[in-house]
Symmetry: C2
């Protein structure tokens, strides 16, 4: 199914991506030894770089890569890294990308401060380049990401999430940054409003499809590939699309029973039962349909651009995201 | 000794401070219930507002309070609040201003995210007002504050701090924000470079005097007024100016013994012994002298301004900070 490798999709911006990696490394230099040590550890892990790739491809389709494009790519990757470091504190995560998390090695103290440091460094790249349009969209994105997570946290406590709330949460916490990547890329190419809007929407739909896929994988993924056991969201009382749909298909009484089980710190057997319940109510199929729908919407945003290798990559990137297995 | 009340010192900007408080409250509004709840809890606690006071007084002495001044004051207070919320996670603190900390009530998750949210909101105030000069100084300040804390953390682990490193740490983690408050205030008044520089330096020296005083209070404060027991820094292996001086006055062997005790998770009796050691070596007197020296330097920065009620307040604010008992 997952017939694309990420490296195939990045072919049109291969050189640019190499240059980005070098500049990204430089942007993380610090005179404080501990900061250097932690950033080197982060760099060593090598993420998928989906966000800088989006910036570069969006710039290329919208007019061409410029100096501003590189600053935009560094900015989004620094911010993304900052949020990952904070997320691991937030989730008390022991691992990230198969490596022990920053908080696991250096404790929460260093992780919180490093996140703040990376966030500030990211914004400084835009300040130093006088990219004030980037700052506007990025500060709004940081606000939306934290607000989205906080909305999920409070809804999680009450276990009452409906479909519109779910979309609001994933739009804020996930899609906002991907959307910003594409917007920043298009802006950096000196593009017109129509193209900037098209790329912003592409990123938004891609982000929603991405997060729905992420939430599906918690039910059907291969736990050894994902690197964590299935049903983690259930244990954390996170109500995502497959479960929301399954609950809506159930009688009031049945739904009440499921919610009660989730509330009661369910063990592995009960988690499996809930996964089976969601499958039997076709919650996975429904979520897959929705993910597919948003993928289509993302691809449609590309219609205004003439055919090209870059356009092909952006379209295939949507499939890569939605068909990925981890 | 502490003959000034803060409310006396703020008389020249009383009206402006009231207006600030209203606008600050508005700036914290959110549609997410949990965010509203936490911000209301923060507002209820009412901090001393030293940072916005500095912005307002600095604007007034340098030319006059403008719309930009209020945005600057809101920006620094949001950022300060963000760092306090993160600091409590960093320090695992249970209390803040006599109230349970955010992390104690809502757990680290909410505290980390709320800090990010407040940071973004602060920067958005500057973005929305097109105060790009504020953004430049503020992002640099956030970087310095986190880097300063990280430098202290790494030095704490090795217990090897000399006087220059101590000044570097407190300049980054504390003085940078106070300095920025005064700079932002002067800038918002449309002031010239000489006055902006004078106020930036005033804030820097004030901040250093402030932090030295803070570190002294950990040795000689009234624990019921401070709201925490004495010697907390020793327990956390934080080597501050009184101890640095005392160690320098000791034989190599004596110093080694003290360091060994600090490293060995000292109990209350041993902490008391270390406090006595510092006092006997005149570490407190030395730190007080240095705090006084930086107070004088701060006051000298005001010399370029003609005498006024505002100037008097800024000078007395230095004494307030350096003679405070909590």
């Amino acid at each position: 199914m997952n017939s694309y490798k990420l490296s195939d999709l990045t072919e049109p911006v291969k050189k640019e991506l190499d240059l980005f990696s070098k500049e990204f490394k430089n942007s993380m230099k610090s005179k404080v030894g501990l900061v250097e040590l932690v950033t080197r550890y982060i760099l060593y892990q090598k993420g998928k770089k989906i966000r800088p790739i989006l910036v570069l491809l969006s710039a290329k389709i919208a007019g061409g890569v410029s100096d501003r494009t590189y600053r935009g790519a560094i900015l989004v990757e620094l911010l993304h890294t900052a949020t990952l470091v904070h997320d691991d504190v937030v989730d008390n995560a022991e691992k990230r990308r198969g490596f022990p998390s920053i908080n696991a090695i250096w404790k929460n103290k260093v992780a919180v401060l490093m996140g703040d440091y990376l966030l500030a460094r990211g914004l400084m790249v835009a300040v130093d380049g006088s990219d004030f349009d980037f700052l506007k969209t990025m500060t709004d994105t940081v606000k939306r990401m934290s607000e989205g997570e906080l909305l999920q946290t409070s809804k999680t406590r009450r276990l009452n999430i409906d479909e519109p709330t779910y979309y609001k949460i994933i739009s804020d916490k996930t899609a906002s940054l991907l959307s910003t990547c594409c917007e920043v890329g298009a802006r950096s190419a000196g593009s017109d409003t129509e193209k900037i809007d098209a790329m912003r929407n592409y990123g938004e739909y891609l982000g929603i499809a991405f997060q729905i896929r992420d939430d599906i994988l918690d039910y059907v993924g291969n736990s050894s590939v994902i690197g964590k056991p299935l049903g983690g969201d259930i244990k954390e009382k996170k109500i995502t699309l497959p479960l929301i749909y399954a609950l809506k298909q159930s009688s009031k009484e049945e739904a009440k029973g499921i919610i009660k089980t989730i509330r009661s710190h369910p063990g592995p057997k009960q988690v499996d039962e809930i996964i089976e319940f969601v499958k039997s109510k076709k919650g996975i199929e429904y979520a897959e349909e929705m993910s597919e729908l948003y993928s289509q919407k993302a691809k449609e945003c590309l219609n205004i651009f003439p055919d090209s290798e870059v356009k092909e990559s952006l379209a295939r990137l949507v499939d890569f995201v939605v068909k990925r297995k981890n």
